[in-house]
Symmetry: C2
């Protein structure tokens, strides 16, 4: 075999239907943009990756696609350099609606690189017959546990939002609704740990929901994530009241100093995907003991190799690791599963939004069994692309014209007075 080279790199933006899930700053739109990266080698092998789809990611991805043409398929270590070169100020950060923390140009490029890295590994796996995990040193577990990602939500998007998908989950706006949602997740997918996206209602209500979950699922690991929506004092109060109930508390308050103070005053393990989302942010957070658990996310951190590197940093400096997710499809789910399979430190159940999506671009989306996914030993990612579905979701992107995910704007459709909340809200 000669050196396999990238002959074609395509960036396919699409819109995926998303339910009206509530969070600290607003609500998910009916349609979330995602990007699919398709690479084809000079010998016709194909691989797929997936990442954020907002227009700044799209611009950076298109620029990188030009840079990788002709490059060796295995040249993953040069992707960041190529992305930097492609940048030229064309895609210098911006804001994704506030839930990702500060979005620097470097973080944006890492997210774009991750899709190219995953697509390269997928194609390389298909060429060599090896699963992606084997190209990362091999799985250390056969199954990867996921947690149920619970959301306060409406039954459906407001009519003024325009067309949207409808599901049969109904509303969940109080403890009973959250427990019913969790019960359905447990029954359908077998999830055994639960994360509630908080920061939506007053902390008392969200604590009541957590306590109701603890009663319904005795001993199950529980997490609460208000996305930095609370003051330090509120965070301390919640941490004390839920001591022994929560597995960990995720981003109760914003910033390294605040997180450090909450941990110091309560001893509650704190997780973050807001105050530490890049390698550059690790040392200060470590020095301040601002987080005990860092959320890996191969999109954030620059790919699956970078996830391994984050694990090494975590191991060295005594952080634990869990895994973050945002709205995504089956390509990213497969990549997340291969990534989690090769990192011994990923001992917490991983987050995933995937069960909220009723659409996908993969044939036979993987099924959760007892809350876990089997790690695929098939070549590459182990998922096949549904070309018709991919075309349809891209067609929707062309037709509907939604180009950004903006949870604040989506909330404003229902509540014209709504502005991005100044945090802390509570």
């Amino acid at each position: 075999m000669g050196v396999p080279r990238i002959a074609r790199a395509e960036v396919i933006p699409l819109l995926v239907g998303d339910p009206p899930l509530l969070n600290a700053i607003g609500v998910h739109q009916p349609w979330t943009p995602r990007l699919i990266v398709e690479l084809e080698t000079d010998e016709g092998a194909v691989g797929f990756g997936e990442t954020y789809g907002d227009s700044n990611y799209l611009a950076a991805a298109r620029a990188l696609a030009e840079q990788v043409a002709g490059a060796p398929l295995y040249s993953l270590n040069t992707l960041m350099r190529r992305a930097d070169r492609a940048g030229d100020g064309r895609a210098d950060g911006g804001d994704t609606g506030g839930l990702r923390g500060a979005l620097t140009g470097d973080k944006l490029r890492r997210s774009v690189v991750s899709a190219f890295e995953v697509a390269s590994l997928d194609a390389l796996g298909r060429i060599t017959g090896l699963p992606v995990h084997a190209l990362l040193g091999g799985k250390v577990r056969d199954r990867v546990e996921y947690s149920a990602y619970l959301f306060y939500r409406w039954a459906q998007h407001p009519e003024q939002s325009g067309p949207s998908l409808v599901d049969d989950w109904g509303a969940a706006l109080d403890a009973d609704g959250v427990v019913a949602q969790a019960r359905r997740f447990a029954d359908v997918h077998g999830f055994r740990s639960f994360k509630l996206k908080g920061g939506v209602f007053a902390p008392e209500e969200e604590m009541a929901a957590i306590n109701a979950l603890a009663e319904e699922f005795p001993g199950a690991p529980l997490r609460l994530d208000p996305n930095g929506g609370w003051s330090i004092d509120t965070s301390v109060r919640v941490a004390r009241e839920l001591d022994g109930v929560l597995e960990y508390l995720e981003d109760p308050t914003l910033g390294v100093a605040g997180m450090a103070e909450v941990h110091r005053r309560t001893g509650m393990p704190l997780a973050t995907n807001m105050c530490v989302t890049s390698f550059e942010e690790v040392p200060a957070a470590f020095a301040a003991r601002a987080a005990q658990i860092v959320l890996a996310d191969h999109h954030y951190w620059g790919g699956l190799q970078a996830t391994r590197e984050l694990a090494a940093v975590a191991r060295t400096f005594g952080f634990a690791l869990s895994m973050h997710s945002t709205t995504h499809l089956g390509i990213s789910l497969a990549a997340m599963t291969h990534g989690a399979a090769v990192v011994p430190e990923l001992a917490y159940a991983c987050d995933t939004h995937r069960p909220w999506q009723s659409e996908d671009v993969v044939v036979r989306p993987p099924q959760f069994i007892e809350g876990a996914l089997q790690v695929s030993d098939a070549p590459g990612l182990g998922v096949d692309i549904d070309r018709d579905a991919l075309a349809a979701l891209h067609e929707r992107w062309l037709e509907l014209g939604v180009r950004e995910r903006d949870d604040v704007a989506a909330m404003r459709v229902a509540d014209p007075e709504w502005r991005q909340p100044v945090l802390p809200r509570f």
Copy 2:
């Protein structure tokens, strides 16, 4: 292709001829033990790795060889776990003569794992047609620079040492000898940077040698490594006198606190392969600013993937990286070159002892051109094994019975009064 599995794992100890190179604790023996690991898959693909050969490494390697039989060839991430399981107290550290710092069981197992990892990657590369660097995300440079490793040395081993190889380098016991040695290295291999192993003579003599090198090779990067042989005050004095002459000073004194003080008082960049040789030792050294450059070494740190992980830790915490070496053959040199090729941070010329060895187990040992090695794009490591040479060096191991490298004992042959020096010597 099905999952390639390890059908046969062989550990081949051998003795390689070594010149009488002097260091802080003694002199190299005529014969240095090394281990070659040979893996063969169920389909007959073969790969080779190399590591330390002392009896505690040999015992750990033999135990690990039993553990990997039947394992997937790509299962690199489980090697440490298998080695831990194989340990059972049979190979719990010990001492290699004092130049490696404290040798814990964990460090020993990492060194053994590195040879199995490299052998696995070599075989996997041969199966897939990919060079080892491609299995590590691809090279970021086409050539890897090495430095000339200068030693004070005798012309030949003392007669009482028994049989030994003889070379035509002659003695180097003063500044003139060191410069002549450097000149020959520069002429033959094109090396452009120079490292002097110090700690042998009084610091004044070694400073004179460095100054003579600076005069002979204006502007060439120079390093001095007394292996922790100096007191803090001596280190400070040398650092001040060689300010602007040395690229960096390596392990002038022992321990995190001493290194930190030398750096604080002088600003001299300090490198180490003594006070930080494992991930566990990084945080304390980082907090104290005890070293500015950590020496990578895939044998020490647990393999080529671990070298990438070390680079990520270094990048995150602001260390620079260079590369350490000890007496080794062409398999390790090839592995070092692939490792250096994939790590952008390895911006210093790498150390290598290889030019001191007149023997090898590879056919056509790679040639340094302008002080650098071309990164091989051939499948696997890109070296072919000379089976006859391998058999001959193993035969020597069986015949001569040398089982440990012991520089102190070697010096005692020449000087019966010699005991391991209490450091600092100066």
